[in-house]
């Protein structure tokens, strides 16, 4: 039996009542040994392509609208799940250290291993969603950090409209407000250089003195990436390249 978009073929063709339903369920594990268009033209006549195109457009229009909102929601949910799972791993590790009984301690190890596996799976899912939802952000910031930023701001739209200095220090609000409060009192204060973008290898792996520069540059590129992803959604290859170049520059700089 072969499922075609206009019907089901089994010795003879049974025309579908609704082509749109046929279109979304035209799934076949095996190769189809005949040419779909030939059979279709026999049944639908010279209008075959006109009908196919109309159905394809109608199905896609509906799917596009659904996917854009649901993909982002899934992504945010995944990031929240990842945070919780990481927290659980940390708690379990800590509690394990207090234990004296070896047998129970071993059970803890097993449990931690399993949850780590789960963490790996969640990360993979995040990778896949990020490549789809925000390809530029994914390239520039990495899937995990990019997803965390979207979660932090609430949506890709909000991230796209945020200023780059907000992106630079998001996640370090506490020390930011502490510094501002100190400055208001006329005291010396240390402004935070980075928030969660510290997770990015290019920031973290530089010596302390250079991290601020890298964080500022990275934040500005992340801001551009989010804007392209929100408005256009196409991959811009030079963007991630420019971040890598800046990192190399800073690393060599004395």
């Amino acid at each position: 039996m072969y499922r075609l978009w206009f019907g089901v073929f089994e010795n003879e063709l049974k025309l579908a009542a609704d082509f749109k339903n046929g279109f979304v369920s035209a799934v076949n594990k095996d190769l189809i040994p005949f040419n779909i268009a030939e059979i279709g033209t026999k049944v639908l006549g010279k209008d075959y392509y006109r009908i196919l195109r109309r159905v394809a457009i109608e199905v896609a229009e509906k799917k596009v609208r659904e996917e854009i909102s649901s993909d982002e929601r899934s992504l945010v949910a995944l990031v929240k799940a990842l945070d919780s799972v990481e927290e659980i791993i940390n708690v379990l590790k800590k509690k394990k250290e207090d234990l004296i009984d070896d047998a129970i301690s071993e059970r803890f190890d097993e449990a931690i291993e399993q949850i780590k596996k789960l963490r790996g799976e969640i990360e993979k899912e995040i990778d896949a969603f990020m490549a789809k939802v925000a390809p530029n952000l994914c390239e520039v910031a990495g899937a995990k950090l990019g997803a965390k930023l979207i979660e932090k701001f609430g949506s890709l739209k909000k991230l796209a409209f945020a200023s780059s200095n907000k992106i630079q220090i998001v996640g370090a609000e506490k020390s930011l407000y502490r510094a501002i409060a100190r400055m208001k009192r006329g005291k010396e204060a240390k402004m935070p250089k980075h928030g969660i973008i510290f997770l990015h290898g290019f920031v973290r792996n530089l010596p302390k003195k250079k991290r601020g520069k890298m964080a500022r540059f990275l934040a500005s590129k992340i801001s551009i990436a989010a804007k392209i992803d929100y408005f256009r959604g196409e991959l811009e290859e030079e963007l991630a390249e420019s971040v890598r170049k800046r990192y190399e520059e800073l690393r060599r700089e004395k």
């Binding site: 075609l4 978009w5 799934v27 040419n35 394809a56 596009v64 959604g233 196409e234």
Partner: protein, 210 residues
């Protein structure tokens, strides 16, 4: 190439349609052409570098990784009497692709994952040509799976390979060699070449079924 003309050193396709992505419209001798900037499209770069792919104009084509339809719009100008099945996985650029599909009678849009051809196996017919530009790690597998399902025995394909998307740390040359070796196991390679200076670390592979 059919319906393609180099105007002032830049390819352009003969078209009765308006601008799709902001490209210039040029009129020469009462005919309208849409400018096709090689930096925006790998196929344009390939043409400008002097490579030829012959089209009759009534081919059936499967286009994997159509994105927002920049290259697709020009291919639709070239294959003006054929049919192009345009597959794209990402919803955001698809909005723009849909705009093109509503305008062009020879474009059939499919919002599907190109690495799962069975999901659209009951929609796409046997095709003469596969154009693939997907920038994914498993692009060779994607080509193979789609060719198994849809490519005619006398059909050919054009694959755009981006080294960075297969392995971002390895030398591009090594990545390309590996890809070519894997492709030549299942296909006949007709021609390969780089797309420098228009697209860095990219090559194209033109091939056919063995």
């Amino acid at each position: 190439m059919r319906n393609v003309r180099i105007i002032n050193g830049i390819p352009a396709t003969k078209s009765k349609y308006g601008s799709h992505y902001g490209e210039k419209i040029i009129e020469i001798g009462g005919e309208r052409y849409r400018e096709w900037i090689p930096w925006r499209s790998k196929l344009s770069a390939l043409i400008l570098k002097g490579y030829e792919i012959e089209f009759r104009g009534d081919e059936k084509v499967l286009y994997l990784g159509a994105s927002s339809g920049t290259t697709l719009s020009h291919l639709a100008d070239i294959i003006d009497e054929g049919v192009i099945y345009a597959v794209e996985y990402s919803a955001k650029p698809f909005i723009k692709l849909l705009k093109l599909a509503r305008e062009r009678e020879n474009v059939i849009p499919l919002l599907c994952d190109a690495s799962k051809p069975w999901l659209y196996s009951g929609i796409v017919e046997k095709v003469d040509f596969i154009y693939q530009d997907v920038a994914q790690r498993n692009q060779v597998d994607i080509l193979k799976a789609n060719a198994d399902f849809f490519l005619r025995n006398d059909g050919s394909f054009l694959l755009m390979v981006k080294a960075k998307s297969i392995d971002s740390t390895a030398e591009p040359k090594e990545v390309f060699d590996k890809v070519i070796e894997r492709i030549s196991k299942d296909f006949l390679i007709l021609e390969t070449g780089t797309l420098e200076p228009y697209h860095k670390d990219h090559i194209f592979i033109l091939g056919a079924k063995i």
